[in-house]
Amino acid sequence: MTVACMLTPEPASAQLSPGPLSEAHAGLEGSRSCLACHSGRRGVDPELCLECHGALEARIQAGQGLHAGSEFGACERCHIEHQGRDFELVWWGDGGLDGFDHERVGHRLDGAHAEAGCRDCHRPGLLSLAGDPSALGVDPESTFLGLDRSCSSCHADPHAGQFAGRDCDACHDSDGFEAATGFSHSQTRFALLGEHADAPCGSCHPQASRTADDRAAAATLVGGAELAASRSTTRYAGVDFADCSSCHREDPHQGRLGGRCANCHQPSGWSDGARSGFEHSRTGFDLRGAHREVACESCHGDGLALARPPSGECTDCHLDVHFGAWSRSDGASADCGGCHRETGFTPSTYDVAAHAGSAFPLTGRHAAIACERCHVPVPLAQLAGAAEPADPAGDLGARRRARPPHAPPPRFAPLTTPPSESCTSCHTDPHRASFAAVAEECVDCHDTSSWSSVGFSHRATGFLLELGHRGVGCRDCHDVEGSSQDDRNATVDLLFDVVSTECAACHVDPHGGQFAIPSAAENGVATTCERCHPRPRFAPAELDHDDARFALEGAHAAVACAACHPTVETATGPRVLYRPLPHECSDCHDGGGERLR
């Protein structure tokens, strides 16, 4: 066996080696090269290793990279040799190369870097070695040395050198280029305020052309293929921002308001900015109430072409929904503020108290009813004193006509003059003038507290209602011929016809005309009902039969009335017969003095 070992085919020079070297060090095979790596003092001597691996030595001396760590002082601890040609000289641990913790080299991979493959960065095109790779002991295809940590050493510069000398990570993080999470426009000389913050970058930052050299330099870098094909880049540096017009090139005011936009406008918005930035009070017209909510163009026209409304009156902008009804007698516009506030057209400040100053103070129930109950819409032509408002000159007039008032359109045309003192100018006369003979105005009988509160005195008619008539309903006497019971019950249709003071005008003669004295009526002599039914009760009185043609004397006084005044059947029913009666004795008595009939 020993002899067999001695006859091994390996060259004698290899007999001292504990095993074949790796492929990378195959050139050092042989006993003459032992001391190329080994020294008697340190075994596998790192200083000897670095004599060949010069690039690594430079990094170690500079304190850079994995090998600069104190725990990596012994090369052989990681790069185990004499294990054969195929042995992996670089041991990446159980996780292999993909499991290598890049933070150990002092450069933690996060974001998109963590997702990249090793050779996406560690490739020949990105190396920046300080010398010839072979002289430095570096194989560009397999080395992990030679990368610069600066972003630009791997990544093509999308900004084409606009930010040369600045750190990319001041704006960008490793999650992706597009986000620019570290960038804040407030750190620049032009902080983005208001709507500027929502504006696309490209609206202010124009495209700038890329030079051919720049594109060629980017071609070999990460992301360089796309950039090499792009002939332009967004221009971020050197954008003029001294004036608003640097970006806002179109002046809506067409230069009429000067070039100092910021005097009126704020970055928060064109309109909002103007409102907040421009003190309208400086014009002498302080914006209050609803005026603050109105777009400037509502008064100043599109593009604010009209710098100042002509007269300063409300009607410069507002359509006079009263059609000049409140214009003063001298022709001046009405004082709208007397009834309306700037908080809105409605509600009006013209209240019941203000109405008291009019010719028609609102009292009683008038104070509680809606204005529209009296001020009902009427055709313009019917309004006394109403006139079409003067047509304002210029654009404002046309705009005003075209634009409906911002307040709700009036549902009624207000009365331009005080209503007639006659109640019937508003109220329908339920009596249909039937009181015209006894009352000049409604208020003679009614007041504004209630319709049912009636102050009428029948005495004014010349027919005092005495006791007998007080319990009688008005309608029992004042009934319109032909009216129905429903009409009579309707409170809105209270008709009172003119009634004669004669009893027969209301009362049915129960005596069937036995006491009619036609001749008396013709001669102006009153009917004689009251002879038997005297005032004030009109109850049947005790008849003094002596006043009759036949005085009751003697036994006649004790005879029952019906003995002489029988009830007889007539065409209109049974009736007591008072007259004519016979007056002769024989008309009643026979010869014996007995009552015959």
Binding site: T2, P18, C34, S39, G40, G43, D45, I80, G84, F87
Partner: protein, 297 residues
């Protein structure tokens, strides 16, 4: 004087047995400790957690190498003992041989741990030379015992052997009781030796067949004594005397052949030992030159 020598021999045996036990236990424990590494495929060993300790140039591996080398260096003192007269006062040669063998057994075993069972190149020559020397040492020890020796380990002369044989025969006759019975025993033993010993073979065949002859003749002698009419209390003593008688007779018959074989063994054992030690020196020198000095570095 004799009793003093007996006490010294007993102490030697105890010390020797203790040393064997201690070293065997230590070696077994170390082998067990590194078994996971030693049983790992060679290609995977570099990734094994015990690599940096147990590889030949590792912390423990180098220590094992130093221990083994030290043992194998110290055992050379035995050769000095044999050659330097001044050392004869320091114990008998057989005791020196015992320690020589002890170190010759465990030295290579520690070197085996040092090698982690991975040898190649020049080291492999040293390694296999070492194993060859060690195994030949075991055979040499066997041959050593086949040549009749005094208590001091010196080979007996033929007359001294005859004298020893006479002593054994006298003891057997004492135990046989009847002279006729004693003669029958001795005749039977002589016949057994004549039949079991093959003197006319070549030395290599003798070397190969000798262990078999030894075992077979011992077994045959024991069987033969079972047919003898011996009091039970004497049977074990008689058997031992019979085995010793057979062995002595065999050794007398083979004495010349054994002496020649032993001479040849020296020729085989020593050159490999020389090779071993030369390569060991080279190996250690290279290791030191390349920085693997371990605890001595």
């Amino acid at each position: 004087m004799r009793s003093g020598g007996s006490r010294g021999g007993s102490a030697h045996r105890v010390a020797l047995a203790g040393a064997y036990l201690l070293l065997a236990a230590t070696w077994a424990a170390l082998a067990l400790h590194g078994a996971g590494y030693y049983l790992t495929d060679w290609g995977e060993r570099a990734r094994h957690p015990g690599y940096w300790d147990l590889k030949p140039g590792g912390r423990l591996g180098l220590l094992y190498g130093y221990i083994g080398a030290a043992m194998m260096t110290v055992l050379l003192v035995y050769s000095l003992r044999k050659r330097v007269k001044a050392l004869r006062r320091l114990g008998t040669l057989s005791k020196w041989l015992d320690w020589h063998i002890l170190l010759g057994v465990f030295g290579p075993l520690f070197v085996v741990l040092h090698s982690s069972l991975k040898v190649g190149g020049l080291v492999s020559i040293a390694f296999w030379s070492m194993l060859t020397v060690a195994l030949s040492g075991v055979f040499g020890r066997f041959l050593y015992l086949q040549i009749p020796r005094s208590r001091s380990g010196q080979a007996l002369s033929l007359d001294e052997i005859e004298q020893r044989r006479g002593e054994l025969e006298a003891e057997l006759r004492e135990n046989a009781g009847e002279p006729a019975e004693a003669e029958r025993w001795l005749a039977g033993l002589d016949d057994l030796v004549e039949r079991s010993v093959r003197r006319e073979v070549s030395l290599p065949r003798l070397a190969v067949s000798l262990p078999v002859q030894v075992v077979r003749s011992r077994l045959a002698a024991r069987r033969l004594t079972r047919s003898w009419d011996v009091a039970p209390v004497l049977r074990r003593r008689v058997a031992r005397l019979a085995v010793a008688q057979v062995a002595l007779r065999r050794r007398m018959l083979l004495l010349e052949r054994l002496q020649r074989l032993f001479f040849c063994w020296h020729v085989f054992h020593k050159p490999f030992a020389v090779i071993l030690y030369c390569l060991m020196v080279v190996h250690v020198a290279v290791a030191w030159a390349t920085g693997y000095r371990g605890p001595l570095g």
